[in-house]
């Protein structure tokens, strides 16, 4: 059920027992996953188990004070989200209640109980501009008009997927431009269906599509180590596991700020309140790198912090991905960040243990792997039912206990996702950020994305990346020897390799998210930085061969300037000059 319409509820259920977020009721005539209202205060919940006459409900709000004998009413409909203009530039809790509206209604900074609000403003009027005319044939999912939802995004008003059968078309019999609120009819179809801007969709059911395609464009993030070494595709999936303090959230924030998706859905699932507040305060002020508009204009936030009810934490991931799919249907590239999927899994575990289900590994329910797979499978590059193409990229942070990647959530996630950004506590400890471990991480999209980088950035993109990876691999091996005998015991050429690798680590892999320029690095700059380090590499090895002592080679004045490329706004000329300087200085030594 959606909160936009007041559905008839049928009563009769009576609470039998209450244990935290799990409530059992008897004599309730409800189906699995139906939304119910629990107790005298009407707390929102969802049916999760039916056994004989007893229905078990997970409640999305705090249950203290609720007792046996209080009524339970069912709405007869599954948990759904309200979709339509107004979803962007909004901030929701886990069941899509807008937090700003809740603040107003509750007249308190604290989240009270039993207060409900529709996911989108039902009164607000939008300027509707038709894109079809009376007499045009339309099928399900087809766009009938456009509404300017935010300064960045045109919201496409579509025929709901359930208004027609697959392959069926019908004629538009009435459509007009004008000012409408989301529930008013903007188009009438011959088969009697009407189209309004408002749709609702059950969160646990994927929206239909024609076909899933192989993604071939990268989701450019402006983060060197991601774009350069471990790229993710538009429509791809990625996991960011890491112990606490390793920078999961900063990485997610960076992606939300700079990824070149049209729409961002950011799901704060069981994380810190202050972090969500940072997003709420920052995003309206930050500029979208693509067009200079406020970032919020392309963003929808879902904030279910760790102290908010656990059942709503379980549902917030579904709320997020359903919103993402809705914009995908309009032909947009959507990126969904979920921080953190471990909290979601733990919410499942908590509910499962209250149901006294037989636990699987580490107390997680046996269906953990299936649920994770279902979620990530809703990402992808799709041909939509209206023929347009759109994508949902899903990037999930994972918080493994004790930073141990062998735990069930990390392992089950890795079996599904194709990009793995492993965060490393050691790197974080020495303030190497982003602390993504370059030997453990991988991207299976590399090969299918290389053609794009070669067309758009440089035709030797893949080659250069391989060079960098080789140098870093060699360094890892050499470091083991250095740990035993010290650096000076190595032959000169190996010492030089270490020096080159050091520039790769310090200049290329490290990136300062808090520096106004360095925080976003376009792929061109990423590439130029790599070629500068390669220039140093080539010139230095030439010098070494010509007999220049290693001490002189590594103590030039120009090479350390490589570390300053990141903060240069006008990087093209800087890089060009620097390359020339490095060559000149090193050649002058012999």
């Amino acid at each position: 059920m959606s909160k936009a319409e007041s559905t008839e509820t049928t009563g009769d259920g009576v609470i039998q027992s209450v244990s935290g977020p799990v409530v059992s009721a008897r004599d309730l005539d409800a189906r699995m996953n139906d939304v119910v209202y629990v107790g005298d205060e009407g707390l929102m919940g969802e049916v999760i188990e039916i056994e004989g006459n007893i229905t078990t409900v997970q409640v999305y709000e705090e249950t203290s004070g609720v007792g046996p004998g209080e009524p339970v009413e069912t709405t007869g409909e599954p948990l759904s989200v309200d979709l339509g203009p107004g979803v962007l530039d909004a901030i929701y809790d886990g069941v899509q209640r807008p937090l700003d509206v809740l603040e107003e209604k509750m007249e308190s900074p604290y989240l009270d109980r039993g207060v409900d609000a529709p996911g989108i403003d039902l009164e607000k009027e939008w300027e509707f501009e038709p894109t079809v005319e009376v007499g045009d044939e339309v099928g399900r999912g087809d766009v009938v008009g456009i509404v300017e939802e935010t300064i960045t995004i045109d919201h496409k008003v579509m025929v709901p997927p359930d208004a027609l059968e697959e392959d069926e078309t019908t004629e538009v019999v009435a459509i007009e431009a004008g000012s409408f609120n989301v529930t008013e009819t903007v188009a009438e179809l011959e088969n009697g269906e009407t189209v309004s801007m408002h749709q609702e969709w059950p969160v646990r059911e994927p929206r239909p599509s024609n076909e899933k395609k192989t993604p071939r464009t990268p989701l450019v993030s402006g983060q060197r180590i991601l774009d350069g070494l471990f790229p993710i595709a538009k429509g791809g999936t990625a996991a960011i596991p890491g112990p606490f303090g390793s920078g999961k959230t900063v990485t997610q924030h960076q992606l939300a700020k700079y990824a070149d998706a049209d729409i961002i859905v950011y799901v704060g699932c069981g994380e810190r309140g202050n972090e969500m507040t940072e997003v709420i305060e920052d995003f309206p002020e930050l500029e979208d790198p693509a067009n200079g508009n406020p970032l919020m204009a392309r963003t929808s936030l879902i904030a279910n912090t760790s102290n908010m009810p656990v059942a709503a934490r379980e549902s917030c991931i579904y709320t997020g991905i359903t919103i993402a799919e809705f914009y995908r249907d309009m032909g947009y590239d959507v990126a969904l960040m979920a921080d953190s999927t471990s909290r979601w899994a733990e919410a499942m575990r908590e509910i499962s243990s209250r149901l006294e289900e037989m636990p699987g590994e580490e107390g997680y329910p046996a269906y953990l792997a299936a649920r994770l797979a279902q979620f990530y499978e809703r990402a992808g590059y799709f041909e939509n039912i209206n023929g347009t193409e759109g994508s949902v990229s899903a990037i999930g942070a994972v918080s493994p206990p004790g930073g141990d990647f062998s735990e069930p959530v990390t392992q089950n996630t890795l079996r599904i996702v194709k990009t793995f950004w492993a965060l490393d506590a050691d790197l974080a400890e020495r303030r190497h950020f982003p602390s993504i471990n370059w030997t453990e991480s991988y991207s299976l999209y590399k090969n299918q994305l290389d053609p794009w980088f070669e067309d758009e950035v440089a035709d030797d993109w893949a080659e250069k990346r391989q060079w960098a990876v080789d140098v870093l691999d060699e360094e890892t091996e050499l470091q083991e020897i250095v740990q035993l005998v010290g650096k000076d015991a190595l032959p000169d050429d190996q010492q030089l390799t270490l020096e080159v690798a050091r520039y790769l680590r310090e200049a290329y892999l490290q990136q300062n998210a808090f520096h106004p320029v360095d925080t976003f690095c376009p792929p061109e700059k990423t590439y130029l930085m790599l070629t500068t380090i390669e220039t140093f590499n080539d010139e230095a090895f030439d010098a070494l061969e010509a007999g220049v002592p290693i001490e002189d080679i590594i103590s030039t004045d120009s090479a350390p300037q490589i570390n300053r490329i990141g903060v240069q706004d006008e990087y093209e000329t800087y890089v060009e000059d620097l390359k020339a300087e490095i060559a000149e200085e090193l050649r002058s030594l012999y």
């Binding site: 609470i15 004998g69 020495r430």
Partner: protein, 475 residues
């Protein structure tokens, strides 16, 4: 209010009783034993006909004839500004022989979640006077920053030092009128600490006169374990009241969270719940979050709640569920290190694994100093480098290392002795902390300072030793 004499089962801290009316989840219960003693408890599970009650004081003395009264309300904390200066037990009853407390309000101790939309992002620097915190892992108002320690470490001394010295600099000088509206208050919640430790805290509070601006909640090691599960909620309810209704900047110190978690486990085991990692309940993350997330600032309110929970890591292992779950909720952590402690460093803070997540927005121009972030980054990198080299030196000796590597080693040593080891009674302002930082960084050549803006290097780098005021003076 009905009275029942229907207890059917007593098991550990739990009592099951039959009832013939609806009893709310979380409701408060009074149990009167045959000896006339009144015990308090809380409804843990409410089914038709039977309720499970968790008894705070422990179940000894209860028999099947004891009478059970349901008070029809959830647990409340009587709050008033007059609590300042008072010492209470773990359930909020005064134990200092002071006058009776007349509450202004009675507030539910299970605080509702703060709407993230109503929060204000914390970015005001709190000066603790401890260089390792102010300089490297800055605390800000509204943050929750735990101290990860282990048994036998001086974490209490550190906590007391912070409680004593914490202040918000500049603001009180520049905007003197801010002072009258928002004062500092310290709320100290002890859970299962020994009487001796408690005495030390009390002595320190009395010696420094800090007690007048403090509220102390004491649940000692020999007090009932189950009571520990309510103590922090009492503490935080009082903190929220003082912060958001009386405009205080409240610093909450909770010690020791490990004892709290043990109590949770005890209740979970008694209820025969499916255990999570190491026998702790599966909902421990949610439970801890409900405590820690009560730190923060609220838009339009003057005050703030800053939390410093202390926990002793069993076996000094930070992958143990208690520190692990804590670290995922709090905004960073401060590590107290046994090795540094045995070297005699005071406070023995290991800055490398320590972290303050809110630091980046709380420092810099106008807040602390414009070079703060760069200095911090460079010191982290240089100290980490020095630490690495120490391992190597053990194998190859100092002579085998380059000149620069030797400088890093010297830096690491000096960092510990000059920067970290300041003593529990020294209060350094941020200016002094940063100047010591520059003294130390000047031991390295300028081109090794790759994380600092060139402009700052020019301004602060000590070209020759005579400029190094502080170390010179200290010698």
């Amino acid at each position: 209010m009905k009275e029942y004499q229907t207890i059917t089962e007593i098991s550990g801290p739990l009592v099951y009783a039959e009832v013939d009316e609806a009893i709310g989840y979380d409701e408060i219960v009074e149990i009167e034993t045959a000896q006339g003693e009144t015990l308090r408890g809380q409804v843990l599970e409410s089914s038709e006909g039977v309720v499970a009650i968790q008894v705070f004081e422990g179940t000894s003395g209860i028999d099947q004839n004891a009478s059970v009264r349901f008070l029809g309300e959830t647990m409340k904390m009587p709050v008033t500004e007059d609590l300042l200066g008072r010492v209470l037990d773990g359930s909020g009853r005064p134990i200092d022989d002071g006058p009776e407390i007349v509450p202004e309000e009675r507030q539910d101790i299970v605080g509702a979640a703060i709407n993230p939309y109503s929060r204000e992002y914390p970015e005001e620097f709190i000066q603790t006077g401890v260089s390792a915190i102010d300089g490297m892992n800055t605390l800000v108002r509204g943050q929750k920053l735990p101290i990860f320690s282990s048994s036998g470490q001086p974490h209490s001394d550190l906590a007391m030092q912070i409680a004593r010295q914490a202040s918000v600099p500049e603001e009180d000088e520049n905007e003197g009128d801010d002072e009258d509206g928002s004062e500092f208050a310290v709320i100290f919640g002890a859970m299962g600490i020994t009487a001796e430790e408690a005495n030390e805290f009390m002595a320190d509070f009395e010696r420094t006169g800090a007690l007048e601006r403090s509220v102390v909640f004491m649940n000692l090691a020999d007090d009932p374990a189950v009571e520990r599960t309510v103590t922090p909620r009492m503490v935080l309810t009082t903190a929220e009241y003082l912060a958001f209704e009386k405009d205080y900047h409240v610093l909450v110190i909770l010690t020791d969270m490990t004892n709290y978690c043990e109590a949770l486990r005890e209740i979970g085991a008694a209820r025969e719940e499916v255990p999570g990692r190491r026998g702790y309940p599966g909902y421990m993350y949610t439970d801890l979050a409900q405590l820690y997330e009560r730190a923060g600032r609220i838009e339009g309110r003057e005050g703030s709640v800053t939390q410093i929970p202390i926990l002793t890591m069993p076996g000094d292992d930070d992958t143990h569920p208690i520190p692990d779950l804590t670290g995922y909720i709090t905004e960073g952590q401060i590590y107290v290190d046994p090795d540094l402690n045995s070297q005699g460093l005071q406070p023995p803070i290991n800055v490398l694994p320590s972290l303050s997540r809110l630091m980046d927005d709380g420092i810099g121009e106008g807040l602390t100093r414009e070079d703060h972030a760069d200095v911090k980054d460079q010191m982290f990198a240089a100290y980490a480098e020095g630490e690495d080299l120490r391992d190597l030196v053990n194998i190859v000796g100092r002579e085998a290392l380059s000149e620069l590597d030797n400088k890093y080693l010297d830096f690491a040593d000096a960092f510990e002795t000059e920067f970290i080891d300041q003593g529990f009674d020294t209060d350094r302002d941020i200016e002094e902390t940063l100047e010591i930082g520059w003294d130390l960084l000047s031991m390295l050549p300028t081109d090794a300072l790759n994380r600092i803006d060139e402009e700052f290097i020019e301004r602060h780098y000590r070209e020759d030793d005579s400029e190094r005021e502080i170390i010179e003076a200290a010698d």
